[in-house]
């Protein structure tokens, strides 16, 4: 799929090869646009379909039919003529101030491939950066042996690895149950699932149940949960969690109905839902808003996925969590709109082509409100106690963040300069939502008022050697010598 001498100029760049990116790139290229699909992984699929082309887990019942659906997205991509650059890290998306001499200001994408950086010129970019697991700050969550459930699922998909020794899963949300079910199919050991779904969430979600009854996820979800509950030890109403060990995990301490219990554990898999992976959108300047229902920041988009930045669209979970099938359809909508903006299809053709896509999207999103409400993480796990590390990189506790608020810090960006919180290599991905929530709770205002980190490119670290490999224009050289 990749040309031996790659060109660096395309109509459309799609960033991320999960369901949204795969569908967007295939549709846009099939209509004649020149498209490049950029992705950090060696193989297409994103996280949800990670390693779908090469997973060593050949027994299809282990990962389940929803996973294998991902393979169906690869044919259309191959046939579309889109260029796929795997192993490519995008670290910047920007529109230069000066036009290219023809009155146009195309978008420049900074990327790294095979150890060298390059600049790509495109007229439209579709960000399909997907989701990451919501931070789950508990005491001891930085210990080796504690991983995200999503991380464990990646180990299963890419390498056929399952936990050995005493294994505890803890948290809330569909992915936790799906992974438990996949482990059951694979014959892996799970000692207990500690369900942290707050009791009152059921009451809040009940009025939304009729909507969920029409959801395509209902049957699958029910079967899966019943299966897991029948075969595994599920401990509900868990209100507090702690991982303990000296240099590595040894045990998990949990509170249920006011009583503390301890379980030996070599592996603890934490999960409380997923949130948009918005670092690139944020650093690109896309406006974002606080979503009170999903309790996360999400970039603001119109119903085509267009952001506040001209020529930049967002599709899939990166724009708000809707799941893999919804992401696929959102990718198609973003592609249709990009084609229209580039003058390749008329408005009427765009709108007509979008009709069946929107129907499929609505169907995929049916009952989402029920899931969002039911699986809203308990406050104790969003706004942790003082002794809990919130910023893993710089080892900053929730207590230190609260102290900074008492000293007059009103938001995450001030907390950064007070504490270095959010200034480590992960650039706030693992602490941002928690820091917003902790500051909001301490100030007694809404997260929306507190705000989020202002992120800057490069959104992934790049070496000087990679930067030095950038081809330099006469203007670049002048900028250094004449100033």
């Amino acid at each position: 799929m990749s040309a031996p001498n790659p060109k660096f100029d395309f109509d459309i760049a799609v960033v991320g090869s999960g369901p949204a990116g795969l569908a967007a790139a295939a549709l846009a290229a099939s209509k004649g646009a020149s498209v490049v699909l950029l992705d950090e992984q060696a193989e297409p699929g994103g996280q949800i379909y990670r390693a779908v082309t090469e997973t060593p887990v050949r027994d299809r019942k282990v990962l389940g039919p929803d996973y294998w659906h991902g393979a169906e997205l690869l044919g259309p991509l191959r046939d579309s003529g889109a260029v796929h650059w795997p192993g490519t890290t995008v670290w910047s998306v920007a529109r230069p101030r000066e036009d290219a001499g023809d009155g146009h200001r195309p978008i420049q994408i900074g990327l790294s491939r095979n150890g060298s950086a390059a600049m790509l010129t495109v007229r439209h970019v579709i960000l399909a950066t997907g989701a990451l697991e919501r931070p789950f700050p508990i005491p001891g969550w930085t210990l080796p042996g504690v991983l995200g459930a999503g991380a464990a699922q990646v180990l299963l998909k890419t390498s056929g690895l399952v936990p050995s020794g005493a294994t505890v899963m803890a948290g809330s949300g569909p992915l936790l149950w799906l992974l438990a079910w996949q482990y059951l199919q694979a014959g892996a050991r799970i000692d207990a699932i500690l369900d942290t779904t707050p009791k009152q969430n059921w009451r809040a979600a009940l009025p939304l149940l009729p909507g969920f009854l029409r959801s395509p996820y209902l049957g699958k979800g029910m079967k899966l949960m019943l299966d897991v509950r029948r075969k595994l030890t599920v401990i509900g109403n868990v209100t507090a969690l702690r991982a303990e060990g000296d240099g590595a995990l040894k045990s998990v301490v949990y509170t249920r109905n006011g009583t503390e219990h301890r379980l030996p554990a070599d592996t603890l898999l934490l999960h409380q839902g997923v949130i948009p992976n918005l670092n690139l959108a944020n650093a690109t300047g896309c406006a974002q808003r606080w979503d009170g229902q999903q309790r996360c920041w999400r970039p603001t988009t119109d119903d085509w996925g267009a952001t506040s930045v001209e020529g930049v669209s967002l599709a899939g979970d990166g724009a708000g969590i809707g799941g893999a099938r919804a992401a696929e359809e959102a990718g198609r909508l973003a592609a249709l709109d990009a084609l229209h903006r580039l003058g390749r299809i008329g408005r009427e053709q765009r709108d007509q082509s979008a009709v069946p896509v929107r129907t499929a999207l609505d169907r995929a999103l049916t009952g989402r409100a029920f899931l969002d409400t039911l699986y809203t993480p308990a406050e104790a796990f969003r706004v942790p106690a003082d002794d809990t590390i919130v910023c893993r990189c710089e080892e900053i506790t929730a207590g230190a963040v609260r102290e900074a608020v008492r000293l007059g810090c009103s938001g995450p960006n001030q907390a950064k300069s007070f504490l270095r919180c959010g200034m480590g290599p992960c650039q706030g991905r693992l602490c941002g939502p928690t820091v917003t929530e902790v500051i909001a709770a301490e100030r007694g205002v809404s997260p929306a008022e507190v705000g989020y980190y202002r992120l800057r490119p490069p959104v992934k670290p790049i070496t000087l050697a990679e930067l030095a490999a950038l081809p330099k224009t006469a203007a670049d050289i002048d900028a250094v010598f004449k100033h």
Binding site: E40, A42, Q47, A51, E54, P56, V57, R58, D59, V62, L132, E133, T142, L143, P144, G145, V146, L147, G148, G150, A151, A152, V154, L155, T158, S159, G160, L161, V162, P163, S164, G165, A186, G187, G247, A248, D266, T267, N277, R392, C393, E394, E395, G424, P425, C426, R429, L430, K460, P461
Partner: protein
């Protein structure tokens, strides 16, 4: 601690898929397609570095390139994201102590 599913260990291509590499100079074996982080876990190495701040042990947490807890030294280059690099024959993986050292 993680183990490989038996169906993979006994697959006809298992031997062809084996990749020999080293962890802190010790010989180790992984499977083609494993990331370095996965290869460490498959070899029972749960901690891949000590933090520069407190010296606490850390291991992979996200496996998707966002948490930066799986930083290791690969073939002499420090601060590589182990979960983003595929293990290769003869690769020298070293657990990392604190910050990346100058010239590594």
């Amino acid at each position: 601690m993680f183990r490989r599913l038996p169906e993979i260990e006994t697959a006809p291509n298992a031997a062809a898929q084996a990749v020999a590499f080293t962890i802190d100079g010790r010989p180790a074996s992984a499977r083609a397609g494993d990331s370095v982080a996965a290869a460490l876990l498959a070899n029972g190495v749960t901690a891949c570095r000590n933090t520069p701040v407190s010296g606490a042990a850390r291991g992979p947490y996200c496996m998707m390139g966002v948490c930066f807890d799986c930083l290791v030294t690969i073939d002499g280059t420090g601060n590589r994201q182990g979960c983003q690099v595929r293990v290769a024959p003869g690769m020298a993986v070293e657990t990392q102590n604190g910050k990346r050292e100058v010239e590594r």
